[in-house]
């Protein structure tokens, strides 16, 4: 018996990588509320974190319904990363029922929210400069929990912030080529308030901020009047609400249906909009193609 245990121990010792003792700790288990936040956390945490998103790619965080496996994942997690600003209204109940005892990090804490329909607009990640502040908060929180990896988090965060600044400059240069009167568009989900503020767009929406509101005949009529008046050139279908209504509005209002803008969820991994940076570039290209026009 003893000899067999000894052999096993020796085997395990040889299998373990010859790294410093600090790095031998397992990666931090991070649960992010939705896919965009998960991507940002992966960029900051690198290989020292394992990130799971509760609301995955192409899924709607406004009407999320937790599965038992989500609660189990959350119960085992070290860190819970949420956006805040009322985006995850379901989170408190989920945390309560999971028995999660790790650390909660609210990425958007401390930013000045835009108002939307009487509450805060939660979609702050549509402005890359605000995402830089998300990055700061996430890397500080990770470093506080795992001081041994703090240096690695800081290096990753600095690299990602540089990419975010490059993205911001790229979007501004591209939008500058668009005459101001063309910077107007319609989308089925007004999640682009922060984007519009940063880059000088005007956005009209046929529905309220939550995707479970149903549009009234008056809302739709008002929108068609606006389109007909010629001040809006393009209508965008967002990646999760009923596209039929938008198509009817565009057909009757004489605007072009400009393709798909991603707002609250990334595309599947591997697709161009499968990461935050990729999603923002995809949205920019889609917007420019529709708004430049003939």
């Amino acid at each position: 018996m003893t000899s067999r245990r000894l052999i096993l121990a020796t085997l395990l010792a040889t299998l373990a990588p010859p790294t410093p003792a600090a790095a031998a700790e397992p990666p931090l288990r991070v649960v992010a509320s939705f896919s965009i936040l998960a991507d940002i956390a992966r960029n900051v945490g690198g290989d020292r974190v394992v990130v799971t998103a509760l609301v995955g790619p192409d899924a709607d965080a406004h009407v999320y319904d937790p599965r038992p496996s989500d609660i189990a994942t959350l119960a085992r997690a070290d860190v819970l990363l949420t956006n805040g600003l009322g985006f995850e209204g379901w989170m408190d109940r989920l945390v309560g029922s999971s028995g999660f005892r790790g650390r909660r990090v609210v990425a958007a804490a401390g930013i000045e929210p835009l108002p939307a329909d009487g509450h805060d607009d939660p979609h702050a990640w549509q402005d890359p400069r605000i995402v830089e502040r998300y990055v700061n908060r996430i890397s500080a929180a990770l470093a506080a929990i795992r001081p041994a990896d703090a240096a690695s988090f800081a290096v990753n965060a600095e690299r990602y912030r540089r990419e975010l600044r490059a993205l911001d400059a790229e979007i501004r240069r591209a939008v500058d080529t668009l005459p101001p009167e063309r910077r107007r568009f319609v989308t089925s989900h007004d999640a682009f308030g922060y984007f519009a503020r940063r880059y000088g767009f005007t956005i009209l929406a046929p529905q309220g901020w939550s995707t479970d509101d149903e549009a009234s005949a008056r809302d739709v009529a008002a929108l068609i009047r606006q389109l007909k008046a010629g001040s809006v050139r393009a209508v965008f279908i967002e990646n999760m609400t009923d596209p039929r209504l938008i198509e009817r509005i565009a057909a009757e209002g004489g605007a072009t249906v400009g393709g798909r803008l991603y707002s609250d969820a990334l595309a599947q991994p591997g697709e161009p909009a499968g990461t935050y940076l990729g999603m923002m570039r995809h949205n920019l290209a889609t917007l420019l193609a529709a708004l430049r026009g003939p």
Partner: protein
């Protein structure tokens, strides 16, 4: 009056919504009347729920295609209806109990299907529809179903009326089974078309409420059907106007107007009965 029509004149989407719900009102009037007379009002509701898993399956296989979702919904609901009839015959269970059991199973499968689609299907749109988003395919489907309904009723009218008004007349014969299956298929077809326009839950409103309201005013079957078609049409127009003027969701507004017609009819009928007693 011109104020009522002005939005319809200005907006194509309102005219489409009106045409779609008008076709449904006319198509559903005879079926709703017969359902009520056969004491099957709640069975209509159960079958509407049973449409859901089939429609979701159609969506998962073929995307947002009116025809795929309609076919899937039809197959699912007809399966539930026939299984319910079979179970109640084999086990002496009441038919409404087996219906309730099966539609709940179907509904659960439908909701799981929606979840399995990873958020690509919006449950609220399936349940409550988007009458403002009716496209050409949705209108064609409704028109096709209305045509089939009235043709089918023309063929089946006599046996159907006998089976409805003289319960037990055909019982146990092959005619009874045939008439029952054909009638059920027509109801399901209408619910499927209605689901494209109003959503699964709201479609039942246009099926049952106008017919229930008409019952307070008429007794002859032909008058019942005609009156319930008129009430359905009026509810469609009033609902869309209400939605436009008061800024309310459109499908529920139409059903609310039909519900208002029903409540007023019930009130008028109770007042009439009381007056009749006073004079008599």
């Amino acid at each position: 009056m011109s104020g009522v029509w002005a939005p319809f004149a200005e907006f194509l989407f309102l005219r489409r919504a009106l045409v779609g719900s008008a076709i449904l009102a006319v198509s559903m009037a005879p079926l709703g009347t017969l359902l009520i007379l056969r004491r099957m009002s709640l069975v209509g509701d159960a079958m509407a729920h049973a449409v859901l898993p089939g429609a979701v399956a159609g969506f998962l296989l073929a995307g947002l295609s009116v025809w795929a979702m309609a076919l899937g919904g039809f197959v699912a609901a007809i399966t539930v209806a026939l299984l319910a009839a079979l179970i109640s015959r084999r086990t002496r269970e009441y038919e409404d109990a087996s219906f309730a059991a099966l539609y709940l199973i179907a509904l659960a499968i439908g909701v799981i299907g929606v979840a399995a689609s990873g958020g690509r299907v919006d449950l609220a749109h399936l349940l409550f529809g988007s009458v403002l988003a009716v496209d050409n395919d949705g209108l064609f489907l409704a028109a096709l179903v209305a045509t089939c309904t009235w043709l089918g009723l023309a063929l089946l009218y006599r046996p159907l009326v006998v089976a409805t008004l003289q319960a037990g007349f055909f019982d146990g014969t092959r005619t009874a089974t045939l008439v029952h299956v054909a009638f059920t298929s027509l109801v399901v077809m209408n619910l499927v078309a209605g689901f494209q326009v109003l959503g699964t839950l709201m479609a039942v409103g246009l099926l049952i409420l106008p017919a229930a309201a008409a019952r307070q005013w008429a007794t002859r079957l032909e008058s019942l059907i005609g009156l319930s078609a008129l009430i359905g049409l009026a509810a469609a127009i009033a609902g869309l106007v209400l939605s436009y003027q008061m800024d309310l969701p459109s499908g529920p507004s139409i059903v609310l107007c039909a519900g208002l017609a029903y409540l007023l009819s019930v009130l008028a009928s109770t007042l009439r009965i009381r007056n009749g007693r006073d004079h008599g």
